[in-house]
Amino acid sequence: MAGSIPASASAEPVRRPHVGPWKEAWRRFRKHRLAVVSAAVLLLLILGVLLGPLFWTLPIDEIDFAATLQGPTLAHPLGTDDLGQDLLARVLYGGRISLAVGFTAMLVAVGLGILVGSTAGMAGGRTDAGLMWLTDLFLSLPQLPLLLLIIYLFRASLTEVVGTELGVFILVVSVIGAFNWMPVARLVRAQFLSLREKEFVEAARALGASRRRLVLRHILPNALGPVIVAATIDIAAAIIAESTLSFLGLGFPPDIPTWGRLLFDAKDNLDFAPHWALAPGIAIFLTVVSINFVGDGLRDALDPRRVL
Protein backbone atom coordinates (compact mmCIF):
# COMPACT_ATOMS: atom_id res chain seq x y z
CA MET A 1 0.00 0.00 0.00
CA ALA A 2 1.19 3.48 -0.79
CA GLY A 3 0.54 4.81 2.66
CA SER A 4 2.98 2.45 4.31
CA ILE A 5 6.02 3.56 2.31
CA PRO A 6 8.33 5.51 4.65
CA ALA A 7 8.65 9.18 3.77
CA SER A 8 12.44 9.14 3.78
CA ALA A 9 15.04 6.40 3.70
CA SER A 10 16.32 7.30 7.17
CA ALA A 11 12.98 6.44 8.83
CA GLU A 12 13.58 2.71 9.19
CA PRO A 13 10.42 0.84 10.26
CA VAL A 14 10.75 -0.16 13.91
CA ARG A 15 11.13 -3.92 13.98
CA ARG A 16 9.26 -5.28 17.01
CA PRO A 17 9.85 -8.85 18.08
CA HIS A 18 7.03 -11.16 17.09
CA VAL A 19 4.52 -11.51 19.93
CA GLY A 20 1.91 -14.28 19.95
CA PRO A 21 -1.69 -13.46 20.89
CA TRP A 22 -1.42 -15.12 24.30
CA LYS A 23 1.83 -13.39 25.16
CA GLU A 24 0.27 -10.08 24.10
CA ALA A 25 -2.76 -10.80 26.28
CA TRP A 26 -0.49 -11.53 29.24
CA ARG A 27 1.39 -8.24 28.65
CA ARG A 28 -1.94 -6.37 28.70
CA PHE A 29 -3.23 -8.32 31.68
CA ARG A 30 -0.19 -7.36 33.77
CA LYS A 31 -1.07 -3.68 33.39
CA HIS A 32 -4.23 -4.17 35.46
CA ARG A 33 -2.57 -4.22 38.87
CA LEU A 34 -5.63 -5.27 40.88
CA ALA A 35 -6.28 -8.12 38.45
CA VAL A 36 -2.75 -9.45 38.92
CA VAL A 37 -3.07 -9.27 42.71
CA SER A 38 -6.47 -10.99 42.45
CA ALA A 39 -5.05 -13.73 40.25
CA ALA A 40 -2.40 -14.37 42.90
CA VAL A 41 -5.01 -14.42 45.67
CA LEU A 42 -7.20 -16.77 43.64
CA LEU A 43 -4.29 -19.11 42.93
CA LEU A 44 -3.44 -19.11 46.63
CA LEU A 45 -7.06 -19.92 47.53
CA ILE A 46 -7.25 -22.77 45.02
CA LEU A 47 -3.92 -24.21 46.16
CA GLY A 48 -4.92 -23.84 49.80
CA VAL A 49 -8.21 -25.61 49.24
CA LEU A 50 -6.62 -28.39 47.18
CA LEU A 51 -3.46 -28.96 49.23
CA GLY A 52 -4.58 -27.58 52.59
CA PRO A 53 -6.29 -30.77 53.81
CA LEU A 54 -3.01 -32.65 53.23
CA PHE A 55 -1.31 -30.50 55.86
CA TRP A 56 -4.27 -29.71 58.14
CA THR A 57 -5.37 -33.24 58.88
CA LEU A 58 -8.01 -32.64 61.58
CA PRO A 59 -11.24 -34.39 60.48
CA ILE A 60 -14.19 -32.18 59.53
CA ASP A 61 -16.66 -34.06 61.70
CA GLU A 62 -14.79 -34.80 64.93
CA ILE A 63 -17.17 -33.76 67.68
CA ASP A 64 -15.55 -32.40 70.82
CA PHE A 65 -17.92 -31.01 73.43
CA ALA A 66 -15.01 -29.79 75.54
CA ALA A 67 -14.23 -27.19 72.89
CA THR A 68 -17.53 -25.80 71.56
CA LEU A 69 -17.84 -22.31 70.05
CA GLN A 70 -14.22 -21.45 70.81
CA GLY A 71 -12.63 -18.43 69.19
CA PRO A 72 -9.38 -18.81 67.27
CA THR A 73 -6.73 -20.75 69.24
CA LEU A 74 -3.53 -22.55 68.32
CA ALA A 75 -5.29 -25.90 68.18
CA HIS A 76 -8.13 -24.47 66.06
CA PRO A 77 -6.85 -21.43 64.10
CA LEU A 78 -10.37 -20.45 62.98
CA GLY A 79 -12.13 -21.60 66.14
CA THR A 80 -14.78 -24.29 66.51
CA ASP A 81 -18.53 -24.56 65.97
CA ASP A 82 -21.31 -25.57 68.36
CA LEU A 83 -20.27 -29.24 68.24
CA GLY A 84 -16.58 -28.47 68.70
CA GLN A 85 -15.76 -29.30 65.08
CA ASP A 86 -12.66 -27.60 63.68
CA LEU A 87 -13.66 -24.70 61.43
CA LEU A 88 -10.42 -24.50 59.44
CA ALA A 89 -10.85 -28.09 58.27
CA ARG A 90 -14.50 -27.42 57.44
CA VAL A 91 -13.75 -24.20 55.52
CA LEU A 92 -11.05 -25.98 53.49
CA TYR A 93 -13.41 -28.86 52.69
CA GLY A 94 -16.25 -26.48 51.86
CA GLY A 95 -13.98 -24.55 49.52
CA ARG A 96 -13.35 -27.68 47.48
CA ILE A 97 -17.08 -28.15 46.96
CA SER A 98 -17.83 -24.48 46.30
CA LEU A 99 -15.01 -24.13 43.77
CA ALA A 100 -15.87 -27.46 42.11
CA VAL A 101 -19.50 -26.37 41.78
CA GLY A 102 -18.40 -23.00 40.42
CA PHE A 103 -16.12 -24.43 37.73
CA THR A 104 -18.42 -27.26 36.66
CA ALA A 105 -21.53 -25.05 36.53
CA MET A 106 -19.53 -22.56 34.47
CA LEU A 107 -18.57 -25.32 32.03
CA VAL A 108 -22.22 -26.37 31.72
CA ALA A 109 -23.35 -22.77 31.19
CA VAL A 110 -20.63 -21.94 28.67
CA GLY A 111 -21.14 -25.21 26.78
CA LEU A 112 -24.88 -24.60 26.49
CA GLY A 113 -24.32 -20.95 25.62
CA ILE A 114 -21.82 -21.72 22.84
CA LEU A 115 -24.11 -24.42 21.47
CA VAL A 116 -27.20 -22.18 21.38
CA GLY A 117 -25.33 -19.04 20.31
CA SER A 118 -23.37 -20.65 17.49
CA THR A 119 -26.43 -22.51 16.19
CA ALA A 120 -28.43 -19.29 16.17
CA GLY A 121 -25.58 -17.30 14.63
CA MET A 122 -24.86 -19.80 11.87
CA ALA A 123 -28.42 -20.84 11.02
CA GLY A 124 -30.07 -17.43 10.96
CA GLY A 125 -33.68 -17.05 9.90
CA ARG A 126 -36.37 -18.83 11.84
CA THR A 127 -34.03 -20.97 13.95
CA ASP A 128 -32.22 -17.83 15.04
CA ALA A 129 -35.44 -16.03 15.97
CA GLY A 130 -36.75 -19.05 17.89
CA LEU A 131 -33.54 -19.58 19.83
CA MET A 132 -33.28 -15.90 20.69
CA TRP A 133 -36.89 -15.91 21.92
CA LEU A 134 -35.96 -18.85 24.15
CA THR A 135 -32.91 -16.95 25.41
CA ASP A 136 -35.00 -13.90 26.24
CA LEU A 137 -37.55 -16.12 27.95
CA PHE A 138 -34.88 -17.70 30.12
CA LEU A 139 -33.51 -14.24 30.93
CA SER A 140 -36.87 -13.21 32.34
CA LEU A 141 -37.35 -16.33 34.46
CA PRO A 142 -37.12 -15.76 38.22
CA GLN A 143 -34.00 -17.83 38.75
CA LEU A 144 -33.75 -18.30 42.49
CA PRO A 145 -37.39 -19.39 43.03
CA LEU A 146 -37.14 -21.84 40.13
CA LEU A 147 -33.79 -23.12 41.40
CA LEU A 148 -35.39 -23.74 44.78
CA LEU A 149 -38.45 -25.35 43.17
CA ILE A 150 -36.42 -27.74 41.01
CA ILE A 151 -34.13 -28.78 43.83
CA TYR A 152 -37.12 -29.31 46.11
CA LEU A 153 -38.88 -31.48 43.54
CA PHE A 154 -36.01 -33.57 42.22
CA ARG A 155 -33.58 -33.93 45.11
CA ALA A 156 -35.12 -37.01 46.71
CA SER A 157 -35.32 -39.12 43.56
CA LEU A 158 -31.87 -38.21 42.26
CA THR A 159 -30.12 -38.87 45.55
CA GLU A 160 -31.75 -42.30 45.61
CA VAL A 161 -30.08 -43.17 42.31
CA VAL A 162 -26.52 -41.87 42.73
CA GLY A 163 -26.10 -41.15 46.44
CA THR A 164 -26.60 -37.96 48.43
CA GLU A 165 -23.40 -36.04 47.76
CA LEU A 166 -23.09 -36.80 44.06
CA GLY A 167 -26.84 -36.45 43.51
CA VAL A 168 -27.00 -32.96 44.99
CA PHE A 169 -23.79 -32.01 43.16
CA ILE A 170 -25.18 -33.06 39.77
CA LEU A 171 -28.50 -31.36 40.48
CA VAL A 172 -27.00 -28.08 41.71
CA VAL A 173 -24.44 -27.90 38.90
CA SER A 174 -26.86 -28.66 36.09
CA VAL A 175 -29.57 -26.35 37.39
CA ILE A 176 -27.20 -23.42 37.97
CA GLY A 177 -25.68 -24.06 34.53
CA ALA A 178 -29.11 -24.24 32.93
CA PHE A 179 -29.99 -20.78 34.29
CA ASN A 180 -26.71 -19.04 33.40
CA TRP A 181 -26.09 -19.80 29.72
CA MET A 182 -28.04 -16.87 28.25
CA PRO A 183 -25.42 -14.10 28.32
CA VAL A 184 -22.86 -16.42 26.70
CA ALA A 185 -25.36 -17.43 24.01
CA ARG A 186 -26.07 -13.79 23.16
CA LEU A 187 -22.36 -12.95 23.07
CA VAL A 188 -21.49 -15.91 20.85
CA ARG A 189 -24.36 -15.18 18.49
CA ALA A 190 -23.35 -11.54 18.12
CA GLN A 191 -19.74 -12.55 17.45
CA PHE A 192 -20.83 -15.16 14.90
CA LEU A 193 -23.05 -12.70 13.07
CA SER A 194 -20.16 -10.28 12.55
CA LEU A 195 -17.39 -12.84 12.05
CA ARG A 196 -19.13 -14.99 9.46
CA GLU A 197 -19.18 -12.06 7.04
CA LYS A 198 -15.45 -11.30 7.46
CA GLU A 199 -13.00 -11.77 4.58
CA PHE A 200 -10.99 -14.57 6.17
CA VAL A 201 -14.13 -16.66 6.63
CA GLU A 202 -15.13 -15.88 3.07
CA ALA A 203 -11.68 -17.02 1.94
CA ALA A 204 -11.93 -20.27 3.89
CA ARG A 205 -15.37 -20.88 2.41
CA ALA A 206 -14.06 -20.19 -1.09
CA LEU A 207 -11.31 -22.75 -0.51
CA GLY A 208 -13.99 -25.32 0.18
CA ALA A 209 -13.91 -25.57 3.96
CA SER A 210 -16.84 -27.48 5.37
CA ARG A 211 -19.35 -25.74 7.65
CA ARG A 212 -17.97 -27.67 10.61
CA ARG A 213 -14.42 -26.58 9.87
CA LEU A 214 -15.54 -22.99 9.35
CA VAL A 215 -17.14 -22.93 12.78
CA LEU A 216 -14.56 -24.87 14.78
CA ARG A 217 -11.38 -23.63 13.08
CA HIS A 218 -12.12 -20.09 11.94
CA ILE A 219 -15.07 -18.48 13.70
CA LEU A 220 -15.15 -19.96 17.19
CA PRO A 221 -11.49 -19.29 18.10
CA ASN A 222 -11.96 -15.66 17.12
CA ALA A 223 -15.13 -15.35 19.18
CA LEU A 224 -13.49 -16.77 22.27
CA GLY A 225 -12.21 -13.55 23.91
CA PRO A 226 -15.51 -12.22 25.27
CA VAL A 227 -16.60 -15.78 26.07
CA ILE A 228 -13.58 -16.28 28.33
CA VAL A 229 -14.45 -13.07 30.18
CA ALA A 230 -18.10 -14.12 30.55
CA ALA A 231 -16.99 -17.57 31.72
CA THR A 232 -14.84 -16.05 34.46
CA ILE A 233 -17.75 -13.97 35.72
CA ASP A 234 -19.97 -17.07 35.50
CA ILE A 235 -17.75 -18.93 37.97
CA ALA A 236 -18.34 -16.17 40.51
CA ALA A 237 -22.09 -16.19 39.82
CA ALA A 238 -22.24 -19.96 40.24
CA ILE A 239 -20.34 -19.86 43.52
CA ILE A 240 -22.75 -17.21 44.82
CA ALA A 241 -25.76 -19.21 43.60
CA GLU A 242 -24.57 -22.39 45.31
CA SER A 243 -23.80 -20.52 48.53
CA THR A 244 -27.23 -18.88 48.41
CA LEU A 245 -28.93 -22.28 48.09
CA SER A 246 -26.92 -23.71 50.97
CA PHE A 247 -27.49 -20.55 53.00
CA LEU A 248 -31.24 -21.01 52.63
CA GLY A 249 -30.77 -24.56 53.92
CA LEU A 250 -31.73 -26.11 50.57
CA GLY A 251 -28.41 -26.99 48.98
CA PHE A 252 -26.05 -29.68 50.17
CA PRO A 253 -27.10 -31.76 53.19
CA PRO A 254 -25.93 -30.64 56.66
CA ASP A 255 -23.04 -33.10 56.91
CA ILE A 256 -21.35 -31.56 53.87
CA PRO A 257 -20.00 -28.20 55.04
CA THR A 258 -20.00 -25.93 51.98
CA TRP A 259 -19.29 -22.24 52.61
CA GLY A 260 -22.96 -21.31 52.33
CA ARG A 261 -23.96 -24.14 54.65
CA LEU A 262 -21.40 -23.00 57.26
CA LEU A 263 -22.94 -19.51 57.13
CA PHE A 264 -26.42 -21.00 57.48
CA ASP A 265 -25.34 -22.90 60.61
CA ALA A 266 -23.50 -19.88 61.98
CA LYS A 267 -26.24 -17.29 61.58
CA ASP A 268 -28.16 -18.33 64.69
CA ASN A 269 -25.05 -18.05 66.87
CA LEU A 270 -23.97 -14.67 65.57
CA ASP A 271 -24.12 -12.93 68.95
CA PHE A 272 -21.67 -15.17 70.82
CA ALA A 273 -19.64 -16.78 68.02
CA PRO A 274 -19.09 -14.22 65.24
CA HIS A 275 -15.86 -15.97 64.13
CA TRP A 276 -17.97 -18.90 62.91
CA ALA A 277 -19.74 -16.75 60.30
CA LEU A 278 -16.76 -14.57 59.40
CA ALA A 279 -14.43 -17.33 58.17
CA PRO A 280 -16.67 -18.81 55.42
CA GLY A 281 -18.12 -15.39 54.59
CA ILE A 282 -14.69 -13.87 53.99
CA ALA A 283 -13.71 -16.96 51.98
CA ILE A 284 -16.71 -16.50 49.67
CA PHE A 285 -16.08 -12.78 49.37
CA LEU A 286 -12.35 -13.16 48.59
CA THR A 287 -13.03 -15.80 45.96
CA VAL A 288 -15.81 -13.86 44.26
CA VAL A 289 -14.06 -10.49 44.33
CA SER A 290 -10.81 -11.88 42.97
CA ILE A 291 -12.61 -13.78 40.20
CA ASN A 292 -14.45 -10.59 39.24
CA PHE A 293 -11.21 -8.58 39.16
CA VAL A 294 -9.50 -11.27 37.07
CA GLY A 295 -12.47 -11.10 34.69
CA ASP A 296 -12.05 -7.33 34.46
CA GLY A 297 -8.34 -7.74 33.72
CA LEU A 298 -9.09 -10.34 31.07
CA ARG A 299 -11.61 -8.00 29.48
CA ASP A 300 -8.85 -5.42 29.02
CA ALA A 301 -6.35 -8.05 27.92
CA LEU A 302 -8.47 -9.88 25.35
CA ASP A 303 -10.04 -6.90 23.61
CA PRO A 304 -7.62 -6.13 20.75
CA ARG A 305 -9.32 -2.83 19.93
CA ARG A 306 -8.56 -1.42 23.34
CA VAL A 307 -5.39 0.67 23.46
CA LEU A 308 -3.30 0.00 26.52
Partner: protein, 319 residues
Protein backbone atom coordinates in the same frame (compact mmCIF):
# COMPACT_ATOMS: atom_id res chain seq x y z
CA UNK B 1 -46.87 5.73 21.98
CA UNK B 2 -50.17 3.96 22.65
CA UNK B 3 -49.61 1.68 19.69
CA UNK B 4 -46.13 0.92 20.94
CA UNK B 5 -47.51 0.10 24.39
CA UNK B 6 -50.13 -2.31 23.07
CA UNK B 7 -47.49 -4.00 20.93
CA UNK B 8 -45.27 -4.46 23.97
CA UNK B 9 -48.19 -5.82 26.00
CA UNK B 10 -48.96 -8.33 23.26
CA UNK B 11 -45.31 -9.43 23.22
CA UNK B 12 -45.44 -9.98 26.99
CA UNK B 13 -48.24 -12.55 26.65
CA UNK B 14 -46.23 -15.23 24.82
CA UNK B 15 -43.40 -14.89 27.34
CA UNK B 16 -45.84 -15.34 30.22
CA UNK B 17 -47.26 -18.39 28.45
CA UNK B 18 -43.71 -19.68 27.92
CA UNK B 19 -42.96 -19.26 31.61
CA UNK B 20 -46.16 -21.10 32.51
CA UNK B 21 -45.18 -23.97 30.16
CA UNK B 22 -41.75 -24.21 31.80
CA UNK B 23 -43.30 -24.15 35.26
CA UNK B 24 -45.83 -26.82 34.32
CA UNK B 25 -43.16 -29.00 32.68
CA UNK B 26 -41.04 -28.92 35.80
CA UNK B 27 -44.05 -29.99 37.86
CA UNK B 28 -45.14 -32.66 35.38
CA UNK B 29 -41.65 -34.14 35.20
CA UNK B 30 -41.24 -34.14 38.96
CA UNK B 31 -41.34 -37.55 40.56
CA UNK B 32 -43.85 -38.23 43.32
CA UNK B 33 -47.58 -38.75 43.23
CA UNK B 34 -50.15 -36.79 45.21
CA UNK B 35 -51.99 -40.09 45.76
CA UNK B 36 -49.00 -41.79 47.35
CA UNK B 37 -50.59 -41.55 50.78
CA UNK B 38 -53.78 -43.23 49.54
CA UNK B 39 -51.74 -46.05 48.03
CA UNK B 40 -50.38 -47.01 51.44
CA UNK B 41 -53.81 -46.80 53.06
CA UNK B 42 -55.30 -50.34 53.15
CA UNK B 43 -58.82 -48.98 53.64
CA UNK B 44 -58.90 -47.57 50.11
CA UNK B 45 -59.06 -50.21 47.37
CA UNK B 46 -56.96 -49.63 44.22
CA UNK B 47 -59.97 -49.17 41.94
CA UNK B 48 -61.30 -46.33 44.10
CA UNK B 49 -57.90 -44.69 43.84
CA UNK B 50 -57.89 -45.13 40.07
CA UNK B 51 -61.38 -43.66 39.91
CA UNK B 52 -60.31 -40.69 41.99
CA UNK B 53 -57.34 -40.10 39.70
CA UNK B 54 -59.57 -40.25 36.63
CA UNK B 55 -62.15 -37.90 38.12
CA UNK B 56 -59.44 -35.34 38.88
CA UNK B 57 -58.07 -35.65 35.35
CA UNK B 58 -54.72 -37.06 36.47
CA UNK B 59 -54.63 -39.63 33.66
CA UNK B 60 -55.40 -37.16 30.88
CA UNK B 61 -52.73 -36.44 28.28
CA UNK B 62 -50.21 -33.76 29.22
CA UNK B 63 -51.52 -30.95 27.03
CA UNK B 64 -55.08 -31.34 28.38
CA UNK B 65 -53.74 -31.19 31.93
CA UNK B 66 -51.76 -28.08 31.03
CA UNK B 67 -54.83 -26.28 29.70
CA UNK B 68 -56.91 -27.28 32.71
CA UNK B 69 -54.17 -26.00 35.01
CA UNK B 70 -53.75 -22.76 33.03
CA UNK B 71 -57.48 -21.93 32.96
CA UNK B 72 -57.85 -22.47 36.70
CA UNK B 73 -54.74 -20.33 37.33
CA UNK B 74 -56.26 -17.59 35.15
CA UNK B 75 -59.54 -17.84 37.03
CA UNK B 76 -57.70 -17.19 40.24
CA UNK B 77 -58.18 -20.70 41.59
CA UNK B 78 -54.71 -21.26 42.93
CA UNK B 79 -55.62 -23.97 45.38
CA UNK B 80 -55.23 -24.15 49.14
CA UNK B 81 -52.09 -24.26 51.22
CA UNK B 82 -51.47 -27.79 52.51
CA UNK B 83 -50.30 -26.40 55.84
CA UNK B 84 -52.68 -23.59 56.79
CA UNK B 85 -55.71 -24.44 54.56
CA UNK B 86 -55.85 -20.79 53.44
CA UNK B 87 -56.34 -20.05 49.71
CA UNK B 88 -52.94 -19.48 48.13
CA UNK B 89 -53.86 -16.20 46.45
CA UNK B 90 -54.96 -14.73 49.80
CA UNK B 91 -51.75 -15.87 51.44
CA UNK B 92 -49.66 -14.26 48.71
CA UNK B 93 -51.70 -11.04 48.63
CA UNK B 94 -51.17 -10.69 52.37
CA UNK B 95 -47.40 -10.84 51.95
CA UNK B 96 -46.97 -9.02 48.64
CA UNK B 97 -47.15 -5.38 49.88
CA UNK B 98 -44.22 -5.88 52.27
CA UNK B 99 -42.04 -7.38 49.55
CA UNK B 100 -42.94 -4.67 47.04
CA UNK B 101 -42.24 -1.96 49.63
CA UNK B 102 -38.83 -3.39 50.55
CA UNK B 103 -37.78 -4.02 46.94
CA UNK B 104 -39.12 -0.66 45.73
CA UNK B 105 -37.36 1.38 48.42
CA UNK B 106 -34.12 -0.50 47.94
CA UNK B 107 -34.21 0.15 44.20
CA UNK B 108 -34.70 3.86 44.88
CA UNK B 109 -31.72 3.76 47.25
CA UNK B 110 -29.70 1.97 44.56
CA UNK B 111 -30.63 4.63 41.99
CA UNK B 112 -29.73 7.43 44.40
CA UNK B 113 -26.27 5.89 44.78
CA UNK B 114 -25.64 4.74 41.22
CA UNK B 115 -26.76 7.79 39.24
CA UNK B 116 -24.72 10.55 40.94
CA UNK B 117 -21.66 8.39 41.61
CA UNK B 118 -21.62 6.84 38.14
CA UNK B 119 -22.10 10.16 36.33
CA UNK B 120 -19.57 11.97 38.50
CA UNK B 121 -16.99 9.19 38.00
CA UNK B 122 -17.54 9.10 34.24
CA UNK B 123 -17.12 12.87 33.80
CA UNK B 124 -13.71 12.56 35.49
CA UNK B 125 -12.41 9.26 34.13
CA UNK B 126 -9.36 7.75 35.85
CA UNK B 127 -9.35 10.43 38.53
CA UNK B 128 -8.88 9.46 42.17
CA UNK B 129 -12.65 9.59 42.74
CA UNK B 130 -13.27 7.36 39.74
CA UNK B 131 -10.75 4.78 40.90
CA UNK B 132 -12.09 4.68 44.44
CA UNK B 133 -15.71 4.49 43.24
CA UNK B 134 -14.83 1.73 40.79
CA UNK B 135 -13.02 -0.37 43.38
CA UNK B 136 -15.82 0.08 45.91
CA UNK B 137 -18.40 -0.86 43.28
CA UNK B 138 -16.47 -4.04 42.52
CA UNK B 139 -16.32 -4.95 46.18
CA UNK B 140 -20.00 -4.04 46.62
CA UNK B 141 -21.35 -6.40 44.02
CA UNK B 142 -18.91 -9.16 44.96
CA UNK B 143 -20.23 -9.24 48.51
CA UNK B 144 -23.16 -11.65 48.46
CA UNK B 145 -26.33 -10.29 50.10
CA UNK B 146 -26.42 -13.03 52.71
CA UNK B 147 -22.97 -12.09 53.96
CA UNK B 148 -23.57 -8.31 54.01
CA UNK B 149 -26.81 -8.99 55.90
CA UNK B 150 -24.99 -10.98 58.57
CA UNK B 151 -22.21 -8.37 58.77
CA UNK B 152 -24.78 -5.58 59.26
CA UNK B 153 -26.53 -7.55 62.00
CA UNK B 154 -23.17 -8.18 63.63
CA UNK B 155 -22.23 -4.48 63.53
CA UNK B 156 -25.47 -2.59 64.09
CA UNK B 157 -27.56 -4.98 66.16
CA UNK B 158 -25.08 -6.98 68.20
CA UNK B 159 -22.00 -4.77 68.47
CA UNK B 160 -23.58 -1.31 68.59
CA UNK B 161 -27.10 -2.30 69.56
CA UNK B 162 -28.70 0.44 67.47
CA UNK B 163 -31.13 -1.51 65.30
CA UNK B 164 -33.42 -4.49 65.87
CA UNK B 165 -32.59 -7.47 63.65
CA UNK B 166 -35.95 -9.20 63.71
CA UNK B 167 -38.72 -7.60 61.66
CA UNK B 168 -41.98 -7.29 63.60
CA UNK B 169 -45.29 -6.91 61.78
CA UNK B 170 -47.25 -5.62 64.76
CA UNK B 171 -45.68 -2.54 66.28
CA UNK B 172 -47.60 -1.35 69.33
CA UNK B 173 -47.28 2.34 68.58
CA UNK B 174 -49.11 4.91 66.48
CA UNK B 175 -48.36 8.02 64.44
CA UNK B 176 -44.77 9.21 64.21
CA UNK B 177 -43.60 6.59 66.67
CA UNK B 178 -44.87 3.81 64.33
CA UNK B 179 -43.06 5.29 61.35
CA UNK B 180 -39.87 5.64 63.41
CA UNK B 181 -39.99 2.01 64.54
CA UNK B 182 -40.79 0.86 60.99
CA UNK B 183 -37.86 2.82 59.57
CA UNK B 184 -35.54 1.41 62.21
CA UNK B 185 -36.41 -2.17 61.42
CA UNK B 186 -36.56 -1.79 57.62
CA UNK B 187 -33.34 0.12 57.15
CA UNK B 188 -31.03 -2.90 57.22
CA UNK B 189 -32.90 -5.10 54.70
CA UNK B 190 -33.32 -2.10 52.39
CA UNK B 191 -29.67 -1.08 52.63
CA UNK B 192 -28.42 -4.64 52.03
CA UNK B 193 -30.39 -4.88 48.79
CA UNK B 194 -29.88 -1.24 47.80
CA UNK B 195 -26.10 -1.23 48.26
CA UNK B 196 -25.70 -4.44 46.26
CA UNK B 197 -27.80 -3.17 43.35
CA UNK B 198 -26.31 0.30 43.61
CA UNK B 199 -22.80 -1.09 43.24
CA UNK B 200 -23.73 -3.05 40.13
CA UNK B 201 -25.60 -0.12 38.57
CA UNK B 202 -22.79 2.35 39.27
CA UNK B 203 -20.59 0.45 36.83
CA UNK B 204 -23.34 0.34 34.19
CA UNK B 205 -24.00 4.08 34.53
CA UNK B 206 -20.30 4.90 34.39
CA UNK B 207 -19.60 2.92 31.22
CA UNK B 208 -22.80 4.13 29.52
CA UNK B 209 -21.99 7.78 30.29
CA UNK B 210 -18.39 7.28 29.11
CA UNK B 211 -19.73 5.96 25.79
CA UNK B 212 -22.07 8.91 25.25
CA UNK B 213 -19.79 11.69 26.45
CA UNK B 214 -17.46 11.27 23.44
CA UNK B 215 -20.24 11.65 20.87
CA UNK B 216 -20.46 14.62 18.55
CA UNK B 217 -23.78 15.96 19.75
CA UNK B 218 -22.23 16.55 23.19
CA UNK B 219 -19.38 18.56 21.68
CA UNK B 220 -21.94 20.54 19.67
CA UNK B 221 -23.92 21.31 22.80
CA UNK B 222 -20.76 22.51 24.54
CA UNK B 223 -19.80 24.61 21.51
CA UNK B 224 -23.15 26.36 21.65
CA UNK B 225 -22.18 27.57 25.11
CA UNK B 226 -24.54 25.46 27.20
CA UNK B 227 -23.29 25.12 30.76
CA UNK B 228 -21.43 21.93 31.66
CA UNK B 229 -24.07 20.81 34.16
CA UNK B 230 -26.86 21.25 31.65
CA UNK B 231 -24.88 19.38 28.98
CA UNK B 232 -24.33 16.47 31.34
CA UNK B 233 -27.90 16.26 32.54
CA UNK B 234 -29.83 16.89 29.34
CA UNK B 235 -27.55 15.69 26.58
CA UNK B 236 -25.48 12.96 28.17
CA UNK B 237 -27.42 11.32 30.99
CA UNK B 238 -30.70 10.96 29.13
CA UNK B 239 -29.02 9.13 26.26
CA UNK B 240 -26.81 7.10 28.57
CA UNK B 241 -29.89 5.85 30.42
CA UNK B 242 -31.05 3.80 27.43
CA UNK B 243 -28.51 0.96 27.77
CA UNK B 244 -28.72 1.25 31.57
CA UNK B 245 -32.47 0.55 31.49
CA UNK B 246 -31.81 -2.65 29.51
CA UNK B 247 -29.24 -3.84 32.00
CA UNK B 248 -31.46 -2.97 34.96
CA UNK B 249 -34.36 -4.91 33.44
CA UNK B 250 -32.04 -7.88 32.92
CA UNK B 251 -31.09 -7.65 36.59
CA UNK B 252 -34.68 -7.91 37.85
CA UNK B 253 -34.60 -11.70 38.43
CA UNK B 254 -31.43 -11.24 40.49
CA UNK B 255 -33.15 -8.51 42.51
CA UNK B 256 -35.96 -10.90 43.45
CA UNK B 257 -33.38 -13.53 44.37
CA UNK B 258 -31.68 -11.02 46.64
CA UNK B 259 -35.05 -10.12 48.17
CA UNK B 260 -35.68 -13.77 49.07
CA UNK B 261 -32.33 -13.94 50.87
CA UNK B 262 -32.72 -10.66 52.77
CA UNK B 263 -36.28 -11.50 53.79
CA UNK B 264 -34.97 -14.78 55.14
CA UNK B 265 -32.09 -13.16 57.08
CA UNK B 266 -34.13 -10.37 58.67
CA UNK B 267 -37.32 -12.44 59.00
CA UNK B 268 -39.27 -9.94 56.90
CA UNK B 269 -42.76 -11.42 56.39
CA UNK B 270 -42.78 -11.09 52.61
CA UNK B 271 -43.37 -13.39 49.65
CA UNK B 272 -39.78 -14.63 49.68
CA UNK B 273 -39.89 -15.93 53.22
CA UNK B 274 -43.29 -17.45 52.41
CA UNK B 275 -41.59 -19.39 49.61
CA UNK B 276 -38.83 -20.69 51.88
CA UNK B 277 -41.22 -21.80 54.62
CA UNK B 278 -43.44 -23.44 51.99
CA UNK B 279 -40.48 -25.36 50.53
CA UNK B 280 -39.36 -26.51 53.97
CA UNK B 281 -42.93 -27.67 54.70
CA UNK B 282 -43.48 -29.38 51.28
CA UNK B 283 -46.40 -27.02 50.63
CA UNK B 284 -46.60 -27.45 46.83
CA UNK B 285 -49.55 -25.13 45.97
CA UNK B 286 -47.90 -22.21 47.76
CA UNK B 287 -44.51 -22.89 46.11
CA UNK B 288 -46.19 -22.92 42.70
CA UNK B 289 -48.15 -19.76 43.36
CA UNK B 290 -45.18 -17.79 44.66
CA UNK B 291 -42.95 -18.87 41.77
CA UNK B 292 -45.61 -17.79 39.30
CA UNK B 293 -46.04 -14.44 41.05
CA UNK B 294 -42.29 -13.84 40.86
CA UNK B 295 -42.37 -14.67 37.16
CA UNK B 296 -45.25 -12.22 36.60
CA UNK B 297 -43.36 -9.51 38.51
CA UNK B 298 -40.28 -9.99 36.32
CA UNK B 299 -42.39 -9.72 33.16
CA UNK B 300 -44.13 -6.66 34.59
CA UNK B 301 -40.81 -4.91 35.27
CA UNK B 302 -39.64 -5.76 31.76
CA UNK B 303 -42.76 -3.96 30.53
CA UNK B 304 -41.92 -0.96 32.71
CA UNK B 305 -38.45 -0.97 31.17
CA UNK B 306 -40.01 -0.97 27.70
CA UNK B 307 -42.16 2.02 28.59
CA UNK B 308 -39.11 3.86 29.94
CA UNK B 309 -37.37 3.05 26.67
CA UNK B 310 -40.12 4.64 24.66
CA UNK B 311 -39.92 7.75 26.82
CA UNK B 312 -36.11 8.03 26.78
CA UNK B 313 -35.75 7.37 23.07
CA UNK B 314 -38.88 8.43 21.14
CA UNK B 315 -37.47 6.84 17.97
CA UNK B 316 -38.09 3.39 19.43
CA UNK B 317 -41.82 3.90 19.89
CA UNK B 318 -42.22 5.01 16.25
CA UNK B 319 -40.54 1.99 14.79
Amino acid sequence: MLQYLTRRLLIAIPSLLGISVILFTILALAPGDPFEELATNPAIPPDVRAHLRASLGMDDPVHLRYFAWLTSMLHGEWGFSFVSRIPVDQLILQRLPTTIAVIGTSQIVALCIALPVGVFAATRPYSLFDQIANTLAFIGFSLPTFFTGLLMILLFSIHLGWLPFVFRTSIDATGWRWWWEMARQSIMPIMVLGLFQGAAWTRYVRSAVLDVIRLDHVTTARAKGISEGSVTLKHVVRNAMIPVVTLVALQMPAVFGGAIVTEQIFRVPGVGSLLITAILANDTPVIMGVTFVFACLVVFFNLVADILYGWLDPRISFR
